[in-house]
């Protein structure tokens, strides 16, 4: 298994064939911004935050889904990329109602962290202020569509890791919503096994455990690697 050697941001690195630019960069201390990517879930390349410049390619490529190739030259943090990422985060903040001050995930939200790291201190587009539902019908968990960014991690973890496929995405465009079962209340779902994996992988305060108040929500995503390694390699690594 010949490794691939390539250059990322001026540093020479090696990666296994088929490994993504994102993973190789991450393992070498370069954390490319991302929102829909999560180790252990198949990638969809939807949020476009992890786009990188690759020499010889006219278009920006999603680093989460682009396998490394021998002799690749990658730039992950050019001014143009930063500008794009900032505007993408602003579009997200304006798309629904992200009021950090009163959110359960305040202080532990990947979108909030990303806005800080990208230096987003205000949003240049108009806030849409849509009217979104909050589904509290499940005994242990809640889903607040105001805070959902449609990254589809919940859909993928429920389909691939738990296997219940309770979640999917309904409707289209800016009206797209995460739906449970028949597009019905989460509490009435026959598919849901109440395992809570979707709550743990959700990057924002959209999926939350009931009882957590403002700023109290803490999510632990390490379970995902633990389970995926257990299933694939029969190793239970604490």
């Amino acid at each position: 298994m010949r490794v691939r050697t390539l250059e990322i941001d001026g540093q020479m690195m090696t990666g296994a064939p088929g490994e993504s630019i994102f993973n190789v960069a991450w393992n070498n201390g370069i954390h490319i911004p991302r929102m829909c990517h999560l180790g252990g879930l198949t990638d969809v390349g939807a949020c476009r935050l992890c786009l990188v410049e690759v020499e010889g390619q006219s278009r920006l490529l999603p680093s989460c889904m682009t396998p490394v190739r021998e002799g690749m030259v990658v730039r992950t943090n050019t001014p143009a990329l930063q500008k794009h990422r900032k505007l993408i985060v602003e579009l997200l903040l304006a798309e629904r109602n992200h009021v950090c001050a009163v959110c359960v995930a305040n202080g532990a939200c990947e979108l909030q962290d990303l806005a800080t790291s990208l230096g987003v201190d205000h949003v240049r587009v108009r806030y849409r202020h849509p009217q979104c539902e909050v589904d509290l019908s499940h005994p242990r968990f809640g889903l607040d569509h105001n805070r959902c960014i449609l990254c589809s991690r919940c859909v993928r973890v429920c389909d691939e890791v738990e296997g219940a496929h309770n979640w999917d995405i309904g409707h289209r465009g800016t009206n797209a919503r995460v739906i449970s079962d028949f597009g019905t209340a989460w509490g009435d779902s026959e598919s849901c096994t109440s395992c809570g994996k979707c709550v743990q992988v959700c990057p924002t305060g959209a999926l939350f455990s009931k009882g957590a108040s403002v700023g109290e929500m803490r999510k632990d995503r390490s379970f995902l690697k633990y389970i995926v390694t257990a299933r694939e390699k029969h190793q239970w690594i604490r």
Partner: protein, 146 residues
């Protein structure tokens, strides 16, 4: 056609596709043409027969705008809002229904491909062409005559 006929014909369509999940859209097309719209009961039946998770079936049914999830009103008007029709005055035609025929279910639809005859409205399945607001009112009134 009785309900059992409809059920049998739908069953045949699904059987022809080997009850595979990939034929979901073809099956939904048949279901809608047989039953008029995709009711929750119908979606549940399709999900079970094609061995698909319900959220995937509803996800697909709500993605495509030709699938109707609610019963259709007695009178249906599709105002073509392609570019040629739009510049030829289609928005005013939509307003005609709003002002004169409020009980009609008006859908602003995608280009139907008769741009040479713009602007165009399909009233209860019958295309009306080269319309002006006045002409549309006359045509709809003619259609409503018993």
């Amino acid at each position: 056609m009785t309900d059992t006929d409809r059920a049998q014909r739908l069953e045949r369509v699904m059987a022809r596709h080997g009850y595979s999940g990939d034929s979901l859209i073809e099956v939904l097309h048949s279901a809608q043409s047989l039953y008029g719209y995709l009711s929750p009961k119908l979606l549940a039946l399709v999900a079970t027969k094609l061995k698909l998770p319900p959220s995937r079936v509803v996800g697909v049914a709500t993605f495509y705008h030709l699938f109707a999830l609610a019963p259709k009103a007695p009178h249906q008007a599709m105002v073509c809002m392609g570019t040629a029709c739009h510049t030829a005055g289609a928005p005013e035609l939509a307003r005609v229904f709003h002002d004169y025929f409020p009980d009609w279910q008006v859908k602003v639809g995608r280009c139907v491909g008769c741009c040479g005859l713009a602007p165009m409205v399909i009233c209860d399945g019958k295309p009306q062409i080269r319309l002006t607001p006045e002409k549309l009112i006359r045509q709809v009134e003619d259609l409503l005559q018993p």
